[in-house]
């Protein structure tokens, strides 16, 4: 059942990506570039940096809010995929015991700080990636990639993959369902039966590909998957990229939280 849950997650993301909001309407290229830039800038912070990363949360929050994407859904997905990063990061407190003062009288080991840094970076980059797909239809992203110079062949079959992802996953789910119904938790779910099932599924997939190829030929296919979409990169898209880039640069080179803290501290004192 867990794979069905994972699957429903993709289905939901996919459905979100066909909404119509300010963010959804931006050119896919603009969003791809901004998200990539975001990841690079966030990751470029050194190992022990935590505070200066916090302003970056504004980016996913804005995208999520303007794109009308349920925050809880994204948060749950971020948590769901975190194990590897957490696994690697959790060793930092163990191997990095140096002590750092974070407030008068309060100190923690440096490892905890670098671990916190990994977690913050992880939340930022993963939520940004999820929001990219939640606010940009996959075909849109592919068109964006194509225009950014990724080879047509690669992009065409990426689109085929997307198109048949849902069809084949549902097929697989039906087969698993039929197996589990008669397996009674016994060896029915073992490797040998698995190989047979996957083998059968594979042959059905190949046969389906043959039928699809037939359908393509029937409509004049001669080796190139044509496209007539030619969205313009509008001023709004350029402004989006520039604003995002400016914001990232600002937060990268100016320690915003520290300044605000000092300012507020100054006002208070």
């Amino acid at each position: 059942m867990s794979f069905e849950t994972a699957y429903s997650g993709i289905g939901r993301l996919d459905r979100l990506s066909y909404r119509d909001t300010v963010i959804h309407r931006l050119d896919p290229r603009a969003k791809v570039v901004a998200t990539m830039l975001f990841a690079v800038v966030v990751v470029s912070f050194p190992k022990y940096e935590v505070l200066s990363l916090l302003p970056f949360f504004l980016f996913p929050i804005l995208i999520g809010a303007l794109g009308d994407i349920p925050a809880g859904f994204i948060a749950r997905k971020v948590v769901a995929v975190s194990p590897f990063a957490v696994f690697v990061g959790i060793f930092n407190p163990l191997f990095d015991p140096g002590v750092v003062a974070i407030a008068p009288g309060v100190s923690v080991s440096a490892g905890w700080i670098s671990f916190a840094s990994i977690l913050v970076k992880f939340s930022l980059t993963i939520s940004a990636a999820l929001l990219l797909i939640a606010t940009t239809s996959f075909p849109g992203i592919c068109r964006g990639l194509r225009r950014l110079g990724i080879p047509a062949l690669f992009v065409s079959q990426l689109l085929f993959l997307y198109r048949y992802l849902f069809v084949l996953i549902e097929e697989a789910i039906r087969v698993v369902r039929a197996r589990d119904m008669r397996a009674f938790g016994k060896k029915g779910a073992g490797v040998r039966v698995f190989v047979r099932i996957v083998g059968t599924l594979f042959l059905r997939t190949v046969e389906r590909a043959e039928r699809i190829y037939g359908a393509m030929l029937a409509r004049g296919f001669r080796g190139d998957v044509p496209s007539m979409r030619s969205e313009m990169f509008r001023p709004a898209d350029a402004i989006f990229v520039l604003a995002a880039g400016g914001f990232f640069a600002l937060c990268r080179f100016v320690p915003v939280p520290q300044m605000i803290g000092r300012l507020v501290g100054g006002l208070a004192g």
């Binding site: 997650g9 939901r12 369902r177 589990d180 009674f184 039966v193 042959l203």
Partner: protein, 252 residues
Amino acid sequence: MSHHLLEFKDVRFRYPDGTEALKGVSFLITHGESVGIVGANGAGKSTLLLHMNGYLLPTSGSVTVGELPLRKETRPEFRRKVGVVFQNPDDQLFMPTVFDDVAFGPLNLGLPPDRVRERVNDALRQVGALALADKPPHHLSGGEKSAVAIATVISMEPDILVMDEPAASLDPKGRRSVIGLLNSFAHSKIVASHDLDLILDVCARCLVIRDGMIVADGPAPEILSDATLLAENNLELPLTLQGRAAREGTHR
């Protein structure tokens, strides 16, 4: 006899993506009944059937067979009592030969080899496919595949047989033989289908489901001749009841 009762009480089900596919479904099916389930595409028929052997668990409400409530732990027992045959036989036949496929369930039930053999032979005989035992499933015709898919479930000797769209893409003779097969199965049976003529041939009682709710429940001949009710549910009179003359007039 109470062990053949199947009861749904206010069953609701929401798919993880938020789709509410069942919105409070209640009914009771008693021993030996044959019940048809009809409704538009997406009405919730398949979702309902998936609850019958615990593949899906209700979000709220309860499902019971006899005295056994459906819960995570009771699913294996549930599956022994309720056998479900899904729509596409290709999804169900995954073992190298027909024999292996029909033996898969009984073996997993932990039966001894000769009991398994017996069950397989009985099940295949019942669907008239004994001669196919050694063939690989992908070499069968559509009708043969359907028959074998039914045998894989019969071999577990369920008390209740549940089928989703049992005759799709069969030629009329194959369809007719599935109808014969269903009529020869003496226990309770539940059939979901768009083929209202098949329902009329096989089932005495009929539930109409719309948008996750049961909107009608009664004797099949009565329900399936109520043109207004059917039209409200994207259905129409069974073709055998329409007759040709009437159609000619309205549709040509």
